[in-house]
């Protein structure tokens, strides 16, 4: 029968003891502190909010609804995001219009952000690329604030216009552009 004899641990040595390792660690900390103090090395800490972190363009933050070229909502109120949502935080009320080319549109589109788990399944399910998880990562707020994002908030908030641009291309057009660039 093979078993380890704990009392004869080969790593148990005065070099791995308490005193020396503590001094070693303290020495490293002091070294980094002094190097950063004299600006010999860059600090890792971001000075948010003066300094913005650079997240990937695929970052899944606060939701937004994309617009058609004329500014109307792209969503067709098909309920696929609401069906796919594991947190059941999306509520849609569909309406009918007589407008050419558009039959169904969302009268109300609400996301209960306190329930949302930012899984991105809504984005996956959407057949018309109407809902996306955007680049905004600051969503903190006070208790008395409204935590249900309305259609207007999801569609027209200024932050999205700044970050995504007024012209929100569909994924198809984006992909075509990307492919065209890649081919050149």
């Amino acid at each position: 029968m093979a078993y380890v004899q704990v009392s004869q641990d080969p790593t148990k040595d005065w070099r791995n003891g308490y005193l020396l390792t503590t001094l070693k660690g303290l020495g490293y900390t002091t070294k980094v502190f002094l190097r950063q103090f004299f600006r010999l090395e860059k600090t890792v800490t971001k000075q948010w909010p003066d300094e913005e972190p650079d997240y990937s363009s695929r970052f899944k933050g606060k939701h937004f609804l994309t617009q058609r070229p004329d500014g109307r909502v792209r969503c067709t109120a098909c309920f696929l995001c609401a069906t796919n949502c594991p947190a059941q935080c999306i509520k849609i009320v569909a309406g009918e219009t007589a407008e050419q080319g558009i039959e169904k549109f969302p009268v109300r589109f609400e996301i209960d952000i306190l329930r949302c788990v930012f899984c991105g399944f809504c984005e996956e399910a959407c057949p018309v690329d109407a809902i996306r998880l955007g680049p905004e990562y600051t969503m903190a707020g006070l208790a008395e604030e409204k935590w249900v994002y309305t259609l207007d908030h999801l569609l027209n908030r200024p932050a999205i216009r700044e970050k995504i641009g007024a012209a929100q291309l569909s994924k198809k057009v984006e992909n075509e552009k990307w492919n065209a660039n890649a081919n050149h």
Binding site: T76, A77, C78, F79, L80, T83, A94, G95, E96, A98, E103, K104, P127, V128
Partner: protein, 503 residues
């Protein structure tokens, strides 16, 4: 005369044909089609145009089956069974034929499933997953056709989604006998349309939505309200008229909201259909149309105390004149319980009145399903009263006979479907002028606050029980979870009241 009726009649003559479908032996009456015989042993042959309630058209070419000895595939719907026939529905050739027939159906289909109400119960979607699963080989542009056409009071037609199965045309010709639809133009420009000068305005128009295998016909009432995969159905009986059709009520369990009714196949009563009047029977079941809390002289009473209040009212009226007003919209079980328990509590039989609609023509019948008696349980009430040996007087709108009886306590079992009673407000007003009224009903109005006790009742979809239809045939109700979780039915309340008295 429909296929199924033919089959039923033929079955009586015991003229059976033996054949084998997918290796399983089956005996069916002479004249049965292969598709029906296959259905009997559980082999489902995909089909669009064949419908058991309509004539055979054989236009969709989807129900292709392999029959031994036949050089070519045959359509299952229009091939009659013969002695010793050997049919294979899952033969490789048949499967291929079904697959490519489906692709042809989808050549000009717009695939706008996200905005289509049929998505989720669409036969195109179902069959694509069952027998399709191909990669499309079509490169051509789709033919565009008119969308969202207003074709009737209850219907919207999308000719692009239509696969030209002609079920709706045959329904209009054979069932509703209005013939307002036709197929116009030729080739891939063929489209379903209204015959000039006609509109679909009959009382059976929602059946077109049911039989349409795709989303070409959508119901104005249900359009865009809810996606079908959120709905769960409860099979029950329609309370709309004395026919008592088998229906299923579709509701969203999470929202506790009902959205629509659809007919269930019942050859003895309604066949495959139901009327548009019956389709409205979900509206009074939803919370927005009902009172949720009992009221005593206009102030809300807790559900826990309602039995107490009821017992108090009844015991106060012992040895006094009590009138009981019944409407023919409750179940047989409720009538029996209410009559017997009131008698037991009071010690005497109350004077019974039957409250019926002011204007009605109970003997009217439209020749298909809908009857003039818009009360589900007229026969049941008659039977309950005759069993209890009670002679009842009928009141309509005018409650003079009730006033003349000068009761100290009036117990009213108000109508559940107030639509059938026209405007009941006037009758409620005059009832509220009586001295002491206990009112049971679903109504949500200011008048009910004036009663000494107003108790909300359960609606048909929340009750177990039976109705007797025009033909004295028992029709079963099956209970769903109530919209208001605390609500008590008449059965709970009167049973509890009896228990309280006996203690």
């Amino acid at each position: 005369m429909t296929n199924t009726e033919n089959t039923l009649n033929a079955e009586k003559t015991q003229n059976l044909v033996n054949l084998t479908i997918d290796g399983k032996p089956v005996s069916v009456p002479h004249g049965t089609s292969v598709i029906e015989a296959a259905k009997k042993i559980g082999s489902k042959i995909p089909h669009f145009c064949w419908h058991p309630g309509l004539s055979v058209a054989g236009v969709c070419r989807l129900c292709m089956v392999k029959i031994e000895g036949n050089p070519k595939l045959q359509i299952g719907c229009n091939t009659q069974v013969t002695e010793g026939m050997k049919v294979e529905t899952k033969h490789q050739e048949a499967k291929e034929a079904q697959k490519w027939a489906l692709e042809f159906h989808l050549v000009n289909h717009p695939l706008d499933c996200p905005t289509c109400d049929q998505a989720g119960e669409c036969k195109l979607q179902d069959y694509y997953m069952q027998v399709g699963r191909y990669d499309s080989q079509v490169n051509e542009e789709k033919v565009l056709k008119p969308k969202a056409l207003d074709v009737g009071t209850e219907l919207i037609l999308d000719t692009e989604r239509c696969i030209l199965c002609s079920r709706c045309v045959r329904f209009e010709d054979q069932v509703s006998k209005t013939s307002s639809l036709g197929i116009f133009n030729r080739g891939d420009h063929s489209q379903i349309g209204l015959i000039p000068g006609r509109r679909i305005e009959h009382n059976y128009s929602y059946n077109l939505v049911d039989i349409c295998p795709v989303g070409a016909f959508t119901a104005r009432d249900f359009r865009f309200k809810c996606r079908v995969w959120f709905l769960e159905k409860t099979k029950t009986t329609c309370p709309g008229c004395s026919t008592g059709c088998s229906v299923s009520v579709f509701g969203n369990k999470m929202e506790r909201e009902y959205y629509r009714l659809k007919p269930e196949v019942d050859h003895e009563v309604n066949g495959h259909w139901m009327c548009d009047y019956g389709r409205k029977m979900y509206k009074h079941c939803n919370a927005s149309a009902r009172q949720s809390v009992p009221q005593k002289n206009g102030t809300p009473v807790d559900w826990n105390r309602i039995t107490n209040e009821l017992v108090q009212e009844l015991t106060k009226a012992r040895n006094k004149k009590v009138a009981l007003v019944l409407t023919p919209q409750y179940t047989n079980e409720e009538y029996a319980l209410v009559l017997s328990s009131i008698k037991q509590i009071l010690g005497t039989t109350p004077t019974v009145f039957i409250w019926r609609p002011e204007t009605e023509n109970p003997t009217e019948f439209d020749g298909v399903l809908f009857r003039g008696d818009h009360n589900a349980n007229t026969k049941g009430l008659e039977r309950a009263l005759s069993q209890a040996n009670i002679q009842a007087e009928i009141i309509r709108g005018n409650i003079e006979p009730l006033k003349n009886a000068n009761p100290d306590l009036t117990i009213v079992l108000g109508p559940e479907i107030e639509m059938a009673y026209g405007n009941i407000e006037n009758t409620l007003q005059s009832l509220s002028k009586l001295s002491n009224v206990v009112y049971f009903g679903v109504t949500l109005s200011d008048t009910t606050k004036q009663f000494s006790l107003t108790v909300p009742t359960k609606v048909f979809v929340e009750k177990n029980g039976t109705y007797l239809n025009y033909n004295s045939m028992p029709r079963k109700l099956i209970a769903n979870a109530p919209v208001f979780s605390q609500i008590m039915g008449l059965d709970d309340m009167f049973a509890a009241a009896l228990q309280r008295i006996e203690q």
